[in-house]
């Protein structure tokens, strides 16, 4: 994958930078140029916390090409305390014990290797909270 495409997402993938509309307070991840609620164009950057709650999940058994080595793997949507949601893999877990409502911690992980020769893609995955 061409590196620019990976690079421009670093603020969101590395640091979980989200945006809050200065006019109406609506929050976005990833950030946007215009608020879909009030039309505001000015946003403040803030960082999403490192803990969230699972709102739904599945276990991918049949994966797309670049992920087939990882299958089966769990993937879910989590909700932060401020209401924003994020999708990501749920790792280091027993997939049979996953539950809606469980708490997870966000950990920095490698998401794609691009066939051992491309630029590595890092972002956050979810790990069941245990401490």
């Amino acid at each position: 994958m061409f590196p620019a495409r990976i690079w421009r997402e670093f603020p969101q993938r590395y640091r979980r930078e989200a945006a809050i509309c200065k006019k109406c307070g609506k929050r976005y991840f990833p950030p946007r140029l215009i608020c879909a609620e009030c039309g505001g164009r000015k946003f403040e950057t803030y960082v999403l916390p490192d803990e969230a709650t699972v709102v739904t999940f599945t276990v991918i058994r049949v994966a797309a090409q670049q992920y087939s080595d990882m299958a089966p793997y769990a993937i879910g949507i989590v909700k932060f305390d401020d209401g924003l949601q994020m999708m990501g893999q749920i790792v280091d877990c027993d997939v049979d014990k996953l539950k809606i409502g469980m708490k997870v911690r966000l950990e920095f992980r490698k998401v794609q290797s691009h066939d051992h020769h491309g630029v590595l893609s890092y972002a956050h995955k979810f790990v069941p909270k245990w401490y």
């Binding site: 990833p30 709102v55 739904t56 999940f57 797309a64 090409q65 087939s68 994020m86 809606i100």
Partner: protein, 385 residues
């Protein structure tokens, strides 16, 4: 706005068409539509296709299909809205005729999906989701709908067996459709015994990988009368969108785009859900059919699966859903699916559905075609004149 009618339908046997190329598939369906309409030419062609580029390395699809269809130099273009490409092509063709821009327009759809491996097809289909914030993490389409199913089943206490009623019913109907990819019935327990694709969805909850094409001819009601064809009038059309990523929706088990597209179509047609005699919906996954029938107002939120389990959506039920077999049994060549739905509704409204799957007294039919995890919804209502 001029009154618009469908005067020609063209379908072909869908499936793994090893010996047929991308262009041959569309041409076969297109010629069938031209022959059925009895027209000697078309003014314009709109082809719905999701991903010619990823499946067969071919873009610029309007031009190639017009050429191979023998329609030299006509206006032609490709329409894309993921799995709703066919429905969108139909809507654009409808607008083109209604507006007076063209008199005879073909709306077609095509996908050739078996020239890539299974994981290649999974990759191509996933491009209908948010590349950077969904697909990047390894989600697939079965995965997205599985996450919706997970919420739905927990919230509404729906059992695995109840959900299986939907593919079971699709295969009951598809067994009567000679053009279906998998025209055979299944046992209800086959669904839960099938291989898991994305928990809780098993293989028989999922529509298959399909090669196929479909085409219909739209023209004005005035021209249709001269062609001496049964006139199936398009009386309502609606298109709406939603966030491309599932996690950005406040309610992840409510298909807002389908609800809004349905409202527009109902309003334009002057119809209500109870006026609809049968509907073809986008059952890309078992759960999708339930969510769609709820969003279109046929069943209350949380009752779509139970409605199917109680037989309300069967061929002889209160509202026959997917008499063609749906995407599940008939097949899902993504770009062609929306047009395939129109073909079925026109057949039903003409009274020509094959093998005993004709719905009695079918006067008003609806199609609902959907892109992604519901980011696009296209709804049409047709009536016998």
């Amino acid at each position: 706005m001029r009154d618009v009618a469908v005067v020609g339908i063209g379908i072909m046997k869908w499936g793994e068409l090893w010996e047929k190329s991308f262009r041959d598939i569309f041409t076969e369906a297109g010629l069938n539509a031209i022959d059925d309409a009895g027209v000697d030419h078309i003014d314009s062609l709109l082809v719905g296709c999701m991903s010619g580029g990823l499946f067969v390395g071919q873009e610029h699809i309007g031009a190639i299909m017009a050429d191979y269809l023998g329609q030299k130099h006509i206006a032609a273009g490709r329409v894309e809205s993921a799995c709703a490409s066919g429905g969108l092509a139909f809507r654009q063709a409808f607008i083109e005729v209604a507006s007076g821009m063209s008199d005879i327009v073909m709306a077609g759809g095509v996908e050739k999906m078996t020239d890539v491996s299974g994981d290649g097809a999974t990759y191509a289909l996933a491009t209908a989701a948010d590349q950077e914030y969904e697909v990047f993490n390894g989600v697939t389409f079965p995965g997205l709908y599985a996450m919706m199913a997970r919420i739905y089943m927990q919230k509404y206490k729906v059992t695995r067996r109840e959900l299986s009623a939907i593919p079971f019913k699709s295969h009951q109907n598809g067994a009567k459709n000679p053009y279906a990819q998998y025209p055979f019935p299944i046992k209800i327990e086959d669904v839960e015994n099938g291989v898991l694709v994305a928990d809780p969805l098993h293989i028989l909850d999922c529509s298959p990988i399909t090669d196929g094409g479909a085409a219909v001819i739209l023209t004005t009601v005035d021209i249709a009368k001269k062609l001496k064809k049964p006139i199936i009038k398009v009386i309502g059309s609606g298109l709406a969108t939603d966030t491309i990523s599932l996690h950005q929706r406040d309610n992840m088990i409510w298909l807002k785009s389908t609800e809004l597209a349905g409202k527009k179509a109902y309003e334009m047609a002057g119809k209500k859900p109870e006026d609809i005699d049968l509907v073809e919906v986008h059952d890309c996954f078992s759960i999708a059919e339930a969510l769609v029938t709820e969003a279109l107002g046929f069943f209350k939120p949380g009752t779509g699966v139970k409605a199917a389990a109680e037989g309300l959506t069967a061929l002889n039920g209160k509202l026959p859903v997917n008499t063609s077999g749906g995407l599940k049994s008939k097949g899902h060549p993504v770009g062609a699916t929306g047009i395939g739905q129109v073909v079925e509704i026109v057949k039903q409204l003409r009274g020509t559905a094959e093998n005993g799957r004709q719905v009695k007294k079918a006067r008003v039919g609806m199609t609902q075609n959907m892109g992604g995890s519901g980011a696009s919804g296209v709804v049409h209502i047709m009536e016998v004149v």
